[in-house]
Amino acid sequence: MKFALMINQGPYTHQASDTAYHFACAVLKAGHEVFRIFFYHDGVNNATRMTTPPQDDRHVIDRWSELASQHKLDLVVCVAAAQRRGILDEDEARRHGKDGDNLAPGFRISGLGQLIEAGIEADRFLVFGN
């Protein structure tokens, strides 16, 4: 079965990203496919590699990057939501004349078409956070 997830809240303030992470791990463990995880609204804050939590705390961003690398997950960040919140990849940073980019490994910036496609392609679509 194909699952797609949407995450709408940022890390550390809300639990949505943690819940989605544990759910995604359980989905993969059950032998299902995670077709795409779409980060929207404040959820795009899960995609900055500048995040530096205390060493004894979970690293929400690295955890997503590692899961993506292990399972070849497609982590998509909404471009408009990302730009508003200062989440930029190399191309976007150059295009807007910014002095640096911060997109974490395993994430890519794209648009709402990816969200719609996930809804069409996946057998199950779950939203985390509001």
Binding site: M1, F3, Q15, A16, T19, H22, F23, C25, A26, V27, K29, A30, H32, D123, R124, F125, L126, V127, F128, G129, N130
Partner: protein, 99 residues
């Protein structure tokens, strides 16, 4: 349909609205701060009992434990499940509505 409620009923109307719209045969899974809706002897207990006449209510146990509670603290007939159980519910119900 599987409904997920992630907000405390003391914080928002999500649980009440969910119960009002859930069709018979639905499942309601309380996650994150939503678990407070499952507690024994609260002003929401009656709504839970009424909802259980047509829906099955579940609580995500890791979220219960993270807040210092266990299954003894929640109302009878509310089942506790883990993340594997959450996945199983999502397999069973083809549409998942997050409140």
């Amino acid at each position: 349909m599987l409904h997920t409620v992630n907000k405390s009923p003391y914080q928002s109307d999500a649980l009440t609205t969910c119960f009002g719209l859930a069709q018979p045969g639905s499942a309601v899974l309380l996650i994150e701060d939503g678990i407070y809706g499952a507690m024994n002897n609260t002003k929401f207990s009656t709504a839970i009992v009424i909802a259980q006449q047509c829906c099955t209510i579940y609580v995500l146990e890791p979220d219960l434990q993270a807040r210092g509670f266990d299954s003894d603290c929640i109302m009878n007939a509310i089942q506790t499940i883990d993340y594997d159980g959450f996945v199983s519910l999502a397999e069973t119900y083809s549409v998942v509505q997050a409140w």
